[in-house]
C-alpha cells in the first residue's frame, strides 16, 4: 500500500522541482521557434534570404537553450543540481523522453538514408533545410552544403550551447569546466572549422594540385573506420608533403600517440576531453546520463558486443587495405602478403603480452572471448594463405565495408547511439559500440596510470555515483568495499566524484603499483581485523 501512495504522490505535476518557470517556458518557445524555421524549410517553404533565416533559426535555438539554463542555474548556490531529475518526464523515461527519442531517431533515419527529404539535390541547387545552409557552407569551404554539413553545424551548435549549460551547472567544479571547454574547442575547431578550411586548399599548389580527403584530425581509426580506405590513401598521397604528413599522423595517432596518452591519463584524455561523440554525450546528453543500465547483465552484454565490434572493424579494415595493395614487391614494399603477415604479428604480440603478463586482470569471459577472437583472426589469415588468390579471407572486402558502415557507422552510432539518449542514456554508442573506446579501454584496464581512488572507508553506499555514471559502471560496488575503480569502460567524466556527498572518489594518475589490487583497504577497523577481512 505504501509503495502505491508513494508513487501516486510522485506523479503530481507542475510542482517544484520539476515545474518550469515563466522564463524557462519562454526560452523553450524561443528555441522551438528556431527549430520551427528548420521544419518549415524541410517542408520546402522557400525562405528568400537564406543567410538571414538560417542565422535566425540557429540564434533562436542557441539563445533559447542558453536562456533556459541561465534561468535554471544562475540564481542558485553552486553545487550539485540534480533536484527532480527522476520526477521530470524528459529525464526519467517519461512521455517527453519517449517523444524526444522518437524525434531524434527519426531525424537520424532521414539524415542517413533519405537526405533528399531534407533537400539534398545531387545535380543543381540544394533545397529545403540543406539549401538553407548553403551560404554558410560556401562561406567556409566554398562548396554547397550537404546533409553532413547541416548535421555537423547542428552538432557543433548543440555541443556549444549545452556546453554552456554544463559550465553553469558545474561552475563549482574546475575539472568539469576545463573538460567541457576542451570538448567545445575540439568540436568547433577540429571537427567543424579546420576540415572546411582545409577543403579550400584543394587543388592548390601546396598540395601539388591534389585534394585532401575530409579529415577531422582528432577522429582516429577505428572510430574513423574509413581512414585507410583506398580513395583516401590515394587522396593523401596525391596531396604532396602535407597529404603524406596527414597520412602518417593518422597512423601515429592510433599506434603511438594514443597509447602514450592513455598510459599517462587513462582513456579520458580522448573520450571525455577530445572526442566529438563523447562531447555530445557530455553536453547535450548530460540530462540523460542517469538512464544507463547498471546491471551486471548489461555489463556482460557490453563486453561481448563492443569487443565483437573491434574484431569486425579489424577484419574489415584489413580486408579493405588488402584489397587495394599489390603483389609485386619490386613496385612497393608493402604487398598483400607482407601486410597480412604484419597484422598477424602485431595481433599476436598484443595478445601474447596480455595473456602472459596481464591474464589475472581480465574477467573470465574476457579471457575466453580474447582467445576466441584471436583464434578466429589468425585462422582467417592462415586460411587466406592456404586458399590462394581471390577474395580476402572468406569475404568480399566491399561487402564487409558496406555492412560495417551500415550497421555500426549509421545504425549503431547514430540512430541508436544518439537517437536513444532519452531511453538508454547518453553513452550507449561509447559503451556498447565504439571500437576506439574498446581499444583504449583494453589499455586503460591493463596498462595505464589512471584509476578512481576510493577514499578509505568513507563510502555510505548511497548510490549517487552509480546512478549518474553514464557508462553504467556500478561505481558503488567498488567504493563500498574500499576498492579502487579500474574499469575498461570508464571515460573519466568525473561525475561520480562530483556527485559523491562524502568525498569518496578521486580520479587520478598514480603509480601502477597497487593500482588494482587494493588489498590495503582502509575501512576504519584496526589492522588485525583488516588482515582477516582481506584474506580471500
Amino acid at each position: 500500500m505504501n509503495s502505491q501512495t508513494y508513487h501516486k504522490s510522485m506523479a503530481l505535476t507542475g510542482e517544484p522541482p520539476k515545474s518550469l518557470s515563466i522564463g524557462q517556458k519562454l526560452a523553450v518557445l524561443l528555441g522551438l521557434s528556431g527549430l520551427g524555421i528548420l521544419i518549415l524549410a524541410a517542408f520546402n517553404v522557400n525562405f528568400p534570404n537564406k543567410t538571414l533565416w538560417m542565422t535566425l533559426s540557429l540564434s533562436a535555438i542557441s539563445i533559447g537553450t542558453i536562456w533556459f539554463s541561465w534561468d535554471a542555474y544562475s540564481q542558485k548556490i553552486p553545487g550539485i543540481k540534480n533536484d527532480g531529475v527522476w520526477f521530470k518526464s524528459i529525464s526519467s523515461r517519461g512521455l517527453w523522453g519517449w517523444v524526444l527519442g522518437l524525434v531524434l531517431t527519426g531525424f537520424y533515419i532521414v539524415l542517413y538514408f533519405y537526405p533528399e527529404y531534407i533537400g539534398l539535390v545531387s545535380e543543381g541547387d540544394n533545397k529545403g533545410v540543406i539549401g538553407l545552409f548553403d551560404p554558410l557552407s560556401k562561406f567556409l569551404s566554398g562548396n554547397p552544403a550537404s546533409q553532413w554539413f547541416v548535421y555537423g553545424t547542428l552538432y557543433t551548435v548543440a555541443i556549444l550551447v549545452f556546453g554552456i549549460k554544463f559550465l553553469w551547472k558545474f561552475r563549482h567544479n574546475r575539472y568539469e569546466r576545463l573538460r567541457t571547454w576542451s570538448v567545445m574547442f575540439f568540436q568547433l575547431a577540429f571537427a567543424f572549422i579546420i576540415p572546411e578550411l582545409m577543403a579550400r586548399l584543394n587543388g592548390d599548389k601546396i598540395l601539388d594540385g591534389g585534394s585532401l580527403p575530409y579529415y577531422d584530425l582528432k577522429n582516429i581509426w577505428p572510430l574513423n573506420y574509413y581512414n585507410f580506405e583506398g580513395y583516401r590513401i590515394k587522396a593523401f598521397l596525391s596531396s604532396g608533403e602535407i597529404g603524406f604528413a596527414l597520412l602518417i599522423f593518422g597512423i601515429l595517432s592510433i599506434f603511438v600517440i594514443t597509447p602514450i596518452l592513455t598510459y599517462k591519463y587513462g582513456k579520458r584524455w580522448y573520450c571525455s576531453w577530445v572526442c566529438g561523440c563523447g562531447g555530445l554525450a557530455e553536453t547535450a546528453g548530460d540530462s540523460f546520463r542517469q538512464l544507463s543500465d547498471k546491471s551486471t547483465f548489461a555489463w556482460k552484454v557490453e563486453r561481448w558486443v563492443v569487443h565483437s565490434v573491434v574484431v569486425f572493424v579489424t577484419l574489415m579494415t584489413t580486408a579493405v587495405i588488402y584489397s587495394y595493395l599489390g603483389t609485386d614487391t619490386s613496385k612497393y614494399w608493402l604487398t598483400k602478403s607482407t601486410f597480412l603477415i604484419g597484422v598477424a604479428v602485431l595481433l599476436t604480440l598484443v595478445f601474447g603480452w596480455a595473456m602472459i603478463f596481464k591474464r589475472d586482470q581480465l574477467q573470465k569471459d574476457a579471457q575466453y572471448g580474447a582467445i576466441g577472437y584471436f583464434v578466429i583472426i589468425i585462422a582467417l589469415i592462415g586460411f587466406h594463405f592456404f586458399s590462394g588468390e581471390g577474395e580476402v579471407f572468406l569475404f568480399k572486402s566491399g561487402t564487409l565495408r558496406k555492412s560495417y558502415s551500415f550497421l555500426i557507422g549509421s545504425i549503431f552510432s547514430g540512430v541508436i547511439g544518439t537517437g536513444f539518449y532519452p531511453i538508454f542514456g547518453s553513452r550507449v554508442w561509447c559503451r556498447f559500440g565504439c571500437p576506439m573506446a574498446a581499444i583504449l579501454g583494453f589499455q586503460q584496464k591493463l596498462f595505464s596510470r589512471f584509476r578512481i581512488t576510493t577514499n578509505g572507508g568513507q563510502c555510505i553506499s548511497c548510490g549517487n555515483c552509480s546512478t549518474y555514471c553514464e557508462m553504467g559502471i556500478d561505481v558503488r560496488a567498488y567504493a563500498q568495499k574500499g576498492e579502487n575503480i579500474v574499469r575498461a569502460s570508464c571515460v573519466g567524466c568525473g561525475i561520480c566524484s562530483a556527485v559523491c556527498p562524502r568525498g569518496v572518489l578521486k580520479l587520478e594518475n598514480g603509480p601502477l603499483e597497487g593500482r588494482i589490487d587494493s588489498n590495503q583497504v582502509l575501512l576504519g577497523n584496526d589492522v588485525d581485523l583488516l588482515t582477516l577481512v582481506n584474506k580471500k
Partner: protein
Amino acid sequence: MEHIVIIGNGIAGVTAARHIRKLSDKKITIVSAESEYFFSRTALMYVYMGHMKFEHTQPYENHFWKKNRIDLIKGHVTKVNTRDKLLHIDGVPNLHYDKLIIATGSKPNKFGWPGQDLDGVQGLYSKQDLELLQQNAPNNNICKRAVIIGGGLIGIELAEMLRTRDIPVTFLVREDSFWNSVLPSGESEMINEHIREHHIDLRLGTSLKEINSDVKGKVKSVTLAETGEEIECNLVGLTAGVTPNIDFLKDSGIELGRGVKVNRFLETNVEDVYAIGDCAEQREAIGNRRPIEAVWYTGRMMGETLAQTICGHRMEYKPGHWFNSAKFLDIEYQTYGWVFSERRKKENEAHFHWRHTKEKLCITIAFDKDSETLLGINTFGIRLRHEVFDRWLSEKTTIDFVMEHLRDANFDPEFYKNFESQIVSKYNSDFGKSINLKKKNLKRIFQLS
C-alpha cells in the same frame, strides 16, 4: 547446519551476513519489517529530492541474496524467546535460531513534547518515514510551511529536502549555533550562514514548547518556548537525535540500557545473542567514542568484526581512528581523529582554524598543547585523503609535520584550486612558525619504497 538469524537489514546486519557467508556455509536468515531488500538509509533524502529512485539506493541487485544463500524474511519481530531460541514474527511462523544478531538500528527521539504524536508530526529515519513525508509534504500547496525541531545532521538534511520543493522551512535549534555541541564555533558559524543562504528560517537558541492541533487532529502550528510565538505549519519534523530501536526486547532477558548492552566482543548477557550497529551499547565507552555510535561506518565495522567471532575467530570490536563525514546542503564535511567543540574540548587540546575569506571553506586542526601531536582535523569544502590522515594519526605526527605535508593529504578533484599555502601562512602567523610547504609526492602518498 548452524542457523544464524539477523534482525534488521541495515548496514550492520547485512555486513555481518555478507562476511559470515564469505567465511562459512552457515544458514543465514535476515528478518526485516522495514523493506524487502537492503538499502542505504543515508540515501533516502535523495529519493525525495528526485536525485535517485528508491531502487538506486539498494547496493545489491535483487538476485544477489539468493545467489549468496542469504534468506530474507519480511516481518516484524514481536518477541525474542531466548530460552527456546525462538523468534515470534508477525504473520510468519516462529523462527528458530542457533545464534541471533540484533541489528535493529534506531528510531527518532521524542522528548514528550505536547502534540508529538499528531498527524503531520514525524521523524526521518526509515523508509516508512520517507513515505509518510511524501504524504505530509508532497508540495508547497499541501505543506505551506514545515518546522524542524533539532539542529543535527538529520535536521539539516530534512531542511534541504523540503527546500527542493520550495516548501518554506523554519529550523529550530536549541543551541545558540548549529551543531555546536560537536563543531567548534568557527565551523558552526559558517554553517549557520550557509543555512540562511539557502533561505531557511534558522532560529538559534530556540526550543519547542508545544505542537498545536486543528480540529481533525492534524498539526496546525507550533509554539516556541522562549517567546511564546506561534508558527503555523503543516509538517513538524522531529530530528533531535535517535535512540536504539529495542522495545521488542523488553522481557527477553537480554540486558538493556539505552541500547542492547554488549561487551567488546559484541556479545550480550545471553549466550548466542549479539548486538551490532546503532542499537548496541558498549558497557564501557571505547576511547573518546560514545557507548552508542549511531553511525554508518561503525555499523559496518561491527558487522565485519562479529562475522569473525561467529565464524570461529572470536574477536574484539577494535575500531581504529575515528572518522566521519556529512554534507551540509552544499558543503562537504570530513573529520579524522578528534576535534572537539569548545564545550567538550579537553584541557590539553588546542586548535588551529583557517577559513577562506569569501568561499565557504574552512579547516580546524586539533593538537596537543604540550607535545604538539596531531589529535584530529575537521574540513569543510576540502576533501582529504583518509589513508594519509589515518597514517599520521597512528604515527602521532606533530602539527608542524602535518602542515609541511598538507598537500599530500588533499583529495579534491584534479584542477581544483588549492589553499594549502594560505592555510600554512595563517598557521605560521598564528603560532610564530616558519613552516615551508612541501610539494605533493606520490611516493609518500602511496607509501612506495
